[in-house]
Every structure is written in structure tokens, then in C-alpha cells.
Symmetry: C2
Subunit: 517 residues, 2 copies
């Protein structure tokens, strides 16, 4: 058995059954081996950033790593931004990066580069398989490393001759490392803080944003009068009618400061202590207010099951009795199409079980609020701030959950980084509705230009402007094989959105909205 | 004066007058400073790979570095593949990568990453400006480093507070390092080899592919009966009627072996010794035939002026009498549209002074032959093998040479990596004709699948197929604001190409061609 076969068998045996790929010559034996291992689902992307973002989205929904297959250092480079986002999401992910044959590297051929250097930027685990009989074990180790805890990106470099040579065997799955045990001291400290009568908040992130852990956090907050806040960009937040309502910390530091104002205790549950996204002249980077004590109950990316159970017990909280969001939807908007109306349309129509991939940026600002009481759904965020994540994550989520509708809430500027995602949606017949919020500018940068105190002359503004020529996303979507329509009124948007949500397969609704900035 | 102002002034004073950018919040003060330094031409790209590839194309035509402005580690990552190509082209290039404010880095905010690690993969010079009063000197050093010799990528990391804080001053240009002196010994050795009567070839690359150096190399070859070969993917080859004819080494090792067969001396002039692009089982990586001695007269990327002059003198060669390509064009093709016909159309119509950005891959295979006797033009190649370079390089070349027509000969698969280039062409009203060769597959990989000896079952082939859905490049181009048309016969292609070449501004001609593979 050659290295490629052993690798794919090992991945599948370890629960990694989907590979998002953009292969080249050095990966041809991996590609050829796909025909012999039907349990591995392979998905072609036209750009590596689509593959890495899709692997992230897939894992956010399944809890298992997906694999990518990338072509040497440049292919890894093209996928790097969404690997950064995956790293920030604590997503388990296994990159397979093909390389030149071991004996070919000495010739410094055109595509030769230092793959490990690039990989280390985003990967906690980086290894190069030197011989076919090492591939199986290396792949098992990579999958175990990806699981963490916390979940992380693992990169395995696969030289072409290791892939094509015989002498390899699959390796059984290896157990991931066990989480660190609960520290009783911190639980006791938090119980005291929450019983102190002083203003307190639970600040949740990662796994605490869903399922029984979210119920537990909500019950603890409710039992003690603490606020329940979550990180600004959770990897996956379960929300909607019947689920505990959670207040997300605002992106704008000024608004976040208001949400945190007066707190004396901030309990971190799967989240890191809140900091400003960027630095701004004469504004604090650390958002924790003076006099507020931070209690790090569980780190970001870690499974806080143990500590939450201990807290529930110690406080006598009842997860079954946690507060629940009531069902409520905005009216279907009519008249002028604004960013607010577009978000209201999403809130009015979001189907039960939907998965929202949110990269709506400024135009999508109101979507979260308008959908708070919609039927239960998942909300996936831009975890690392590297735009171009929304459409790829939608691809991966849709492949992971074929029975659910994915809504990609996407800003015009961000869409253009990985717009090739649409083609994969069409090829795979994915049930994805893209709501493309087109305000014809990098609106968030127009806002930031003022916030950082920079002047804004005409040449500066020109660099933030996406008009002349206007981007026509209907043409772009059709060029990639999707049906698409444009809405210039709220009524048109509602009609197009209803049609898209009711139609199997992917489609794009372009909403022309004025910029909020 | 703040750091941003000093930086831009220093760049302009050093001859770096164009900046291709995709900025974010941490770069806002750089963007704001553009209004105060009108000598710096700023060009917006919708994706960083467009910016880095355009800077490469610009420098290939001007000989001076262009700058990029990129947003932290993920922005650099998105630009990495074309920086790899620029590195392989020995292109002088200055990346400015914005970063968080110095005091903000400790908070590990969402976009925090190790920028230097990524930059080192492609940059010989990596520096971080720690204080405003260092920015000017750092920028001067970066430009000097970019000039080399050889030309290289220099990356300067600019923290947001260093950019926005006062206390900076522009720094005058610094002289680049001087090239190493000519080694008389190697010149004498080469003279002996070329006078030996044994079969010999000059293998040229880099600067030896144009201007007086090309004339000198051709005269030397002609005077001694040596073959004149050039590297497979030269950064910029001057060719066409009236210029010395040069045979390019083939991409396929089998064909390259035929070109080199029987040689006893291979004289490297600005090129490295030829190696196979990839390794193939049971085939040699080193293409130099047994019994052939390699004479490294000048390394890749270095200016071979001195050694060529010494050789011309020693051999009594006359550059003015170097062989010249005669004027000849193929007939305008008619009938069925094949890859061969598409290339014939380019050869028949290529205007004088055109700049061809060649990423036509398999479908473009015959373009070089059909245009050999076309009016004088430049030919820019995929130097590093990381596809997605052709359209961005066309952007940069067109901005560098506003009075010349750029023809981007582009394959369907490759186009999709950096298709956002079209928008920048439209915004900047660039005279670029894209001939999009659409064979609906990664044809080169279908060929490579067999060449590496891999099986090719239906699932493998599916991963190399770009149909279902078919990509409609006319829609994609229109979506980005360009005029576009589709040709399905050779006659339609000729008509569309003539129209495009005669019309100011960018346009796209999609040629539907059967795959050669």
C-alpha cells in the first residue's frame, strides 16, 4: 500500500471523512487514491481559502476535524487567512500539504519553499512524513493533535514520493489528550464572587455557547443575577426561540465598555478576557473595567463541562429552568431597502434549524437582534477577523448538515476574497442562500478611518470605495453557475429571499443597501 | 510628521512611486497620508494576491520596486503565492504589512499572528519598525534590500502606533549593494568551452533575456555556434521580429531532455542549472545530460553585464550583428476553435509593443511559437509555478506602461485564483485584453496524473474537472465591470480579439476550447 492510501485510510478510521481540496501535481497520488477509499468524501475548491474555510465550517458543525489537501507552500499560503480564523475558533482541522519528492528538494525547483515556516503560523502540530511507513502514524498523531484540547490546526507535509511509494500501513486512531482536571479552588472562588451581591457577568465562548453547557451557563447566571454575555465572534452560538438568550459583546469598544460598565466580577467560561479588536489612539485595549476582577474558570477552546457542572451543583442552579428566549419575529419589511430592512427580512424568514454564516459586517449589524426570537438556529462568526471566511464556512457547514438550510449573510467587500465558494456550492448542490449586502464600500473602514483619528481626504476615501465600477454580484453568481437576483426594495428582497429559502440548491440574493457609515 | 507620512515620502524619494493595496484598520493612517503625498500612486485591489502580483508585474516592466500595503498576517498570507512568484522572478518588491499597535500585541487580539514567520518564507529582508523615528531609515533599507542584487522581496512591518505617532522624518535613498566583480577565471573557462568545438549552449535567464544583454548573448552564441536557450519561465523575455530568437526550455522534462541532448557545455547566464519542475517516478530531476559540464557564468537574478561584455570582447562577437527574428505571422485562423487556433489568433493580431502575461498553461502551449515573428513585444511568465499570477501581473504591467497593450493569456483554472484583478483593471481603465482559454478542466493535472504514474478513476478525474457547473467567464467579467464576449469559433475569436485590442480599457474574450489532454 502506498503512502497516500495509508493516509486516507487512517484519516477515515480516525473520523476524518471529508477533504476539501485544491490539489496539484505533487498531490496526484492522494487524488488517485480517492477511488479506492469511497468513505472519504472529497470536495473540490477553486481556491485554497475556500478549502480551509470550508474545513473550518464543517468541523464547527460536526465537532470532528475535516481535512484539506493543499499544493506546497503557495497553496498553504492561499489558505492561510482562513486557517488563522480556524485557529481562533479552536477548530480541529488537519491540513495535508503536498511537497516535492524528498530527493527533489535539493534542486530548489520553482515551487520549492519552506512549508513548515508558513504552517507554524497557524498550526500547533507540524510534521513532515519522511517515509511511507511513517505516514499512518503521522496521520493518527495529526488527528489526535487536531482534537486538542483545545481544538487546533494540525499540518502534515506529505512529500510526493512518500505518497507514491509502497510500504505504508494505516494506523488506528489515537486518543486525544485528556482535558486538565477541574480546579476546585477556582470553582469555589467563582461561587463566592457570584454570591457576593456585587455586579457580575459570565462571559462565555467556545463550547459554552451551545447545548447543555449553554443551558448550564444560563441557569447559573439566572440563579445568581449575573449577566450572561458571550464573546463578540463565537465560533458557533446556538440561539433563537426556546434557547437561552445571550448578549454578544459588541465589536465597537465604546459599546462593549457600556455592556461591561460597573461589573465587579467577570467569569470566563471558554472565553478569553475581552480586549479591543484593534488599538485606537488614547483608548484602552483591555476592556475589563477598573475594579472588575476576572475569574478564569475555563480557558478559550477548552471544554468547560466539568467546571460548569461543579458550579451548577454548588449554586443549586437548574439548567432545565434556565431562561428561554420567546418566539418573536419582525414584520416583513416593505418599502426602501436599508441595511436594517435587509436584516429584518432575514429575521422574518429564517427557517427552523438554519445555520447562519455571518460575515455581514456593518450592513449585517442588526441581523442578530432581528433574529433573536426566530426559530432555533446556529450562528457562525468571523472568529479571527480575517475577512473572506463567510462563504467558505457556509460551504463546509452545508456539507456537514445536508438537511439544514445555510444562510450566508455576506458583505460585498468580504465576499470578494473567496467568492469562488459559490462554484463549490453549485457543484455540490448545497442548500445555501447567500444574502449579499452590497453597500459598495468597505464601510467598516470608512468608520475606522474616523475612529483611529486619521484624516480622510479624497484619495484615502477612494481606497475604501467599491464603486466605479459597481460590482454586479448577480453576474458573478451566475458566472459560477448559481441562480441569482437583485433586490432594490425591501419587498423585492422578501420575495427573493422566500424563493431562495424554498428552493433546493444554492442561490444568491443581492441586496443593494445604503452604507450605514 | 507621523510614521506613515515619513514612510511614504521615503518610498517616493527612493523611486517607489506605486503602491498596490488592500488595507484594513491598522493601515488607516498610511491610507490617510496618501492625500498629502500625491507622488505616490495608490491602487486598490480586492484581494491581496492581486496586489502582490501587480507589484511584481509593475517592477518587471520598470526595473524599480513597487510597494504593497497589506493587513497583518492574514493579508500577507493572501498575498504569499504571488510573493513566491516574485521571489522566483528576482523582482524587487517592498511589502508594507500593517500590524497592531506595539502596546496592543500583548493582548493577543483576534488578528494577532506572527507576521515575521510568514514574511521570511518569501522575503530576504524582514524588519519591524519599532518607533516613528526608525521608519524612514527602515524604509530606505527595505528599498535598498529590494534592489539586491539580486532583486528580492523586502518586508517592513509597520505597527499602527508607529504609523500614527509623530517624530518621524523621511530618509534619503540608500545605495543598493554593488554586484560582485567579474571572475576572470570563469570567463576564460567559458571561452575555452565555446572554442572547444564540442556542442555547447548558452542558458540565459533574468536580465539576460532582454535589451543589450540579450543581443550580447545572441552574438556570443552565433559567433561560436552555441545554442541559445532560455529558462522555461523567464520573468520578462523580449522577443518578436527584429530581436534575437531564443528557444525556451520546455516545461515537460521529456521535451527539455531532447533540447539538451548531446550538449557537452551549458553556460549559465542569469539562470540556474535546469531541473525538472516536479519529480516523476523513475525520471531524473537534474536535466543536465551526462557528460555535460555546467559553467556558472552568472547566477540567477544577477546582472550579467560585466561577464557578457568580457565574453563579447574575448570572442570578438558583435552584438549589432546578432541574428534577428524575421517578421512573420500566422494566418488568421478560421473554422473550429481549438487551443492551437486561439494561439494562432494571438500571433496573428498581437500589436507592436504588446506585453503578454502568459498563464495560458496547456491551452496556451502554442502561443509562443505563433507569436515568434510578431512585432516586438515582451513576454512575462509564471516564474514560481504558483498559479494565479497572470491577471495580477497584467494589472501591474499595464499601470507601469500606460502606452502599451497588455494581453493576458489566461487559463480558466488559473484565472479563478485572482479573478478579482479584473475589477482593478476596470477601475484603473487599463488597456488589458484577457484571452481566457476555457477548456473546463485543470488540464495540466489530467496530464500530470498520468505522468506521475497515478491511477485515474472517476473520483480522481472529478477533482480535476471544472465543468458542472461550467464557469461563465463572460458573466464573471461583466460582474466586475468589464466588457466581455465569448468565442466558440476561430472566426468569432479573431473578431472579438481585434475589437478588444482596438478598444481602450480592459475587456475579456472567453475562448471555449477543447482540452489538449
Amino acid at each position: 500500500m502506498n503512502g497516500a492510501h495509508a493516509l486516507i485510510h487512517t484519516l477515515v478510521d480516525s473520523g476524518v471523512d471529508t477533504c476539501f481540496m485544491n490539489p496539484g501535481t505533487s498531490e496526484m497520488h492522494f487524488v488517485a487514491a480517492l477511488d479506492d477509499v469511497p468513505a472519504m468524501h472529497s470536495v473540490l475548491a477553486l481556491f485554497e481559502g475556500v478549502a480551509t474555510g470550508a474545513a473550518d465550517g464543517h468541523a464547527r458543525m460536526t465537532g470532528r476535524p475535516a481535512a484539506t489537501l493543499l499544493h506546497l507552500g503557495p497553496g498553504l499560503g492561499n489558505g492561510l487567512a482562513n486557517l488563522h480564523n480556524a485557529r481562533r475558533a479552536f477548530t480541529p482541522l488537519v491540513n495535508i500539504v503536498g511537497d516535492h519528492a524528498t530527493y527533489h528538494k535539493q534542486y530548489d525547483a520553482q515551487l520549492e519553499s519552506d512549508i513548515e515556516t508558513v504552517a507554524r503560523n497557524v498550526s500547533s502540530f507540524v510534521r513532515r512524513s519522511a517515509k511511507p511507513d511513517e505516514v499512518g502514524g503521522d496521520a493518527s498523531d495529526a488527528v489526535a493533535a487536531a482534537y486538542g484540547p483545545p481544538g487546533q490546526v494540525a499540518t502534515l507535509v506529505l512529500p510526493a514520493d512518500v505518497s507514491w511509494s509502497d510500504g505504508a500501513t494505516p494506523t488506528p486512531p489515537r486518543a486525544p489528550a485528556t482535558p486538565e482536571p477541574v480546579d476546585d479552588g477556582i470553582v469555589k472562588q467563582v461561587v463566592e464572587a457570584l454570591h457576593s451581591g456585587e455586579p457580575a457577568a459570565l462571559f462565555i465562548g467556545g463550547r459554552a455557547c451551545r447545548g447543555p453547557l449553554l443551558d448550564a451557563a444560563a441557569a447559573i447566571a439566572s440563579a445568581t443575577g449575573a449577566k450572561l454575555l458571550c464573546e463578540t465572534f463565537p465560533a458557533r452560538l446556538e440561539r433563537g426561540a426556546g434557547r437561552p438568550p445571550v448578549e454578544r459583546l459588541a465589536y465597537l469598544a465604546e459599546l462593549a465598555a457600556q455592556q461591561l460598565d460597573g461589573l465587579r466580577h467577570l467569569v470566563l467560561v471558554g472565553a478569553k478576557s475581552p480586549v479591543s479588536f484593534f488599538a485606537y489612539p488614547d483608548k484602552p485595549s483591555d476592556l475589563v473595567p477598573d475594579g472588575c476582577r476576572v475569574h478564569a474558570l475555563a480557558g478559550p477552546g477548552h471544554d468547560p463541562t466539568g467546571v460548569l457542572e461543579a458550579l451548577v451543583d454548588a449554586l443549586g442552579a437548574d439548567p432545565a429552568a434556565a431562561p428561554r428566549q420567546g418566539a418573536a419575529r419582525p414584520d416583513r419589511p416593505t418599502g426602501a431597502l436599508t441595511a436594517q430592512a435587509a436584516c429584518a427580512a432575514v429575521g422574518a424568514l429564517l427557517p427552523e434549524g438554519a445555520i447562519v454564516s455571518d460575515e455581514g459586517n456593518t450592513s449585517g449589524l442588526f441581523a442578530s437582534g432581528f433574529s433573536a426570537g426566530a426559530p432555533p438556529h446556529d450562528w457562525l462568526c468571523l472568529t479571527g477577523g480575517a475577512i473572506g471566511q463567510g462563504l467558505p464556512v457556509a460551504v463546509g457547514a452545508a456539507i456537514a448538515c445536508r438537511d439544514r438550510r445555510v444562510v450566508a449573510l455576506e458583505a460585498d467587500g468580504s465576499a470578494l476574497y473567496t467568492v469562488q465558494s459559490w462554484w463549490t456550492m453549485a457543484r455540490e448542490s448545497l442548500d445555501v442562500t447567500t444574502v449579499l449586502l452590497n453597500n459598495r464600500s468597505y464601510a467598516i473602514l470608512n468608520m475606522e478611518l474616523g475612529r483611529v483619528g486619521a484624516a480622510s481626504g479624497p484619495r484615502a476615501k477612494e481606497m475604501l470605495d467599491l464603486s466605479h465600477p459597481d460590482l454586479d454580484f448577480v453576474s458573478l453568481a451566475r458566472g459560477m453557475g448559481l441562480t441569482a437576483s437583485r433586490a432594490t426594495t425591501a419587498d423585492e428582497l422578501v420575495e427573493a429571499l422566500e424563493r431562495s429559502l424554498a428552493t433546493p440548491g444554492p442561490s444568491v440574493v443581492e441586496a443593494i443597501v445604503p452604507s450605514l457609515v
